[in-house]
Amino acid sequence: MTNYNFAYLNEQTKKMIRRALLKAIAIPGYQVPFASREMPMPYGWGTGGVQVTASILKPDDKLKVIDQGADDTTNAVSIRKFFKKTADIETTEITEEASVIQTRHRIPETPLSEDQILVYQVPIPEPLRFLEPRETETRKMHAYEDYGLMHVKLYEDISQHGHIATTYAYPVEVEGRYVMDPSPTPKFDNPKMNESPALQLFGAGREKRIYAIPPYTKVVSLDFEDHPFEIQKWNVPCALCGATHTFLDEVITDDKGGRMFVCSDTDYCAKRRAASEAAE
């Protein structure tokens, strides 16, 4: 792939994306329109994240790519290979080692540091989209900080179900101003966004939007005083590493209703198992 520029995109395009990134960092949670390019993977498969990663990557970076928390899911493998090929960059599966982590649907269980950037792939960046399909309307609502519709939706959930019936892409308020979609991460991961030492960048390729949470920014999940925000809990530990504080995936083991629960973060789970084996 020597015919391509470092990390596929040409330098003008990267500059354009970096400008959008800088604006996004300056206005936390605000969706910055950008001239998203067609990438060699389909829209909806992480083109926004890939463009952000391509624009910030340096030759000495170490890249980790996860999908559903796992390094070995097919799309994560495919994106990692893409950057290996076009940027000849070092990759890793170990969270602590990575300087850039591109993710779909999860935040790693291992706490991130100031030296790390987390890049999210975002399908629908607009938290109000399912309440109001028109971009012309939702942009106005953000401009006027008019989030009544969202609060009504959450309230209706409570009056109907007794609790808020949103489990992923759970809306957050960033630094007291913009309501933001955390991408379809489970709400379990929302608290990790708050005051994170790592820079968090969000890329939505098809919808042509970039947004960001700078390090140490206040990120609050929307809730009510009498119905405070809660994260999911499992009543069983991870069947592989025994963790009781992680997000668990359910795995069907047979056709007789047998199932087990395992960590969705494969790197974290493997590390815990290695540690307990070493201790024995």
Binding site: D72, P186, E250
Partner: protein, 362 residues
């Protein structure tokens, strides 16, 4: 025992090998060449160039071969390749008035300056399978006219000379047209951006929308004022020269629809325009595009916006098939984590509805 979805890397590699095998098909059958596609699948090539937004017949043919004939996949390949190309600048507007015409018809006048020229068309063929084509065979040569070439003015200009047709929209000459491949689309969009969006848009989607306007959803009866197909010169002004030079010829299809307009407070009753333009020979697309362009002018002409085809945000946001296919097909990607969250919620809600639970709560 728990078997994780390990070995993704190997699986992908093997899937790609299998794909290459399937693409080739039975090796006893001679392999199709990109040149053959370029020459004998011309309308597929034209569609891929139009919706791929890149005029390059041989690349389009390669994309069609690589995509196993899946044209949306081929369009996608062309778009992705287009991303990597540097941009030198913008050509001068092409002059379809000076087109070297291969086909030109008008449904509004029986005869007109420049004449009606049928050209290569499926129109008036009987759609009967020609079993002779299973064998190869040289077609009978078509007769060539020895009539002198006549300049063919645009039909709509003839109407506007009489004052019955609205003037073409006047864009200030120094106004740089928008480019949605360089700036994200925002709403409301001007007509230049709408036309660019429609030109890249999916033929099927535009066909259905255009069709809907004929069936009462934003009805305003269209006439095919003119459809012309032919080659035009592309001129470019290199900075170092300062004057235009011809850098090549392209084949385009242009459609101008004539639509009724009852008039409004500001404008007397007259005919209005819808415009369609494609690379190569994409007549169905050009006609549909012209219908949808006209429907989208509702706001400008003071018409009620009541139908999907008139809804700018709905049409422009959904007519790109590369975006659409990507997002629909992304549902194939794993969603374990979100699904797990939903599973937990549904189980909890069911538990809460169980009678014991209710009593306990009461």
């Amino acid at each position: 025992m728990y078997v994780a979805v390990k070995g993704g890397e190997k699986a992908i590699e093997n899937a790609h090998k299998l794909l290459a095998e399937k693409r080739r098909g039975d090796t006893q059958v001679p392999e199709i060449s990109t040149k053959q596609i370029e020459e004998q699948m011309t309308l597929a090539v034209d569609r891929v160039m139009t919706e791929g937004s890149l005029y390059d017949r041989s690349l389009a043919a390669l994309a069609i071969k690589q995509a196993r004939g899946d044209l949306i996949e081929a369009i996608f390949l062309i778009r992705a390749s287009r991303t990597t190309l540097p941009r030198f600048g913008y050509s001068k507007p092409i002059e379809t008035d000076r087109m070297e015409i291969a086909r030109r018809i008008s449904a509004t006048y029986k005869d007109l300056p420049g004449g009606q020229i049928l050209g290569p068309t499926f129109d008036y063929t009987h759609r009967l399978l020609e079993f002779d084509l299973e064998e190869s065979g040289a077609p009978e040569p078509a007769l060539e006219s020895d009539a002198e070439y006549q300049h063919a003015p645009h039909v709509l200009d003839l109407l506007s000379d009489e004052g019955l047709m609205e003037a073409p929209s006047q864009v200030p000459i120094d106004k740089e047209p928008g480019d949605l491949t360089r700036d994200p689309l925002s709403f409301p969009a001007d007509r230049d951006l709408r036309l660019q969006n429609l030109a890249r848009g999916d033929e099927g989607f535009l066909l259905a929308l255009g069709y809907s306007t004929q069936r009462g959803y934003a009805r305003n009866h269209p006439f095919a004022g003119e459809i012309r197909l032919g080659t035009v010169e592309v001129e470019f002004v290199p900075e170092e020269l300062g004057f235009p030079i011809v850098i090549g010829e392209i084949e385009v299809t242009e459609c101008e629809m004539v639509n009724q307009f009852k008039g409004s407070k500001k404008v007397p009753p007259q005919f209005t325009r819808g415009y369609g333009l494609t690379f190569g020979h994409c007549e169905r697309k050009a006609m549909s595009m012209a219908q949808v362009d006209r429907a989208l002018r509702a706001e400008e002409l003071g018409e009620d916006r009541i139908a999907p085809a008139q809804d700018e945000e709905f049409v422009l946001s959904h007519c790109d098939n590369v975006q659409a296919t990507g997002f629909v097909e992304h549902l194939k990607l794993p969603h374990y984590v979100d699904f797990q969250s939903e599973l937990e919620l549904v189980r909890r809600m069911r538990r809460e509805q169980e009678p014991d639970h209710k009593e306990a709560a009461e």
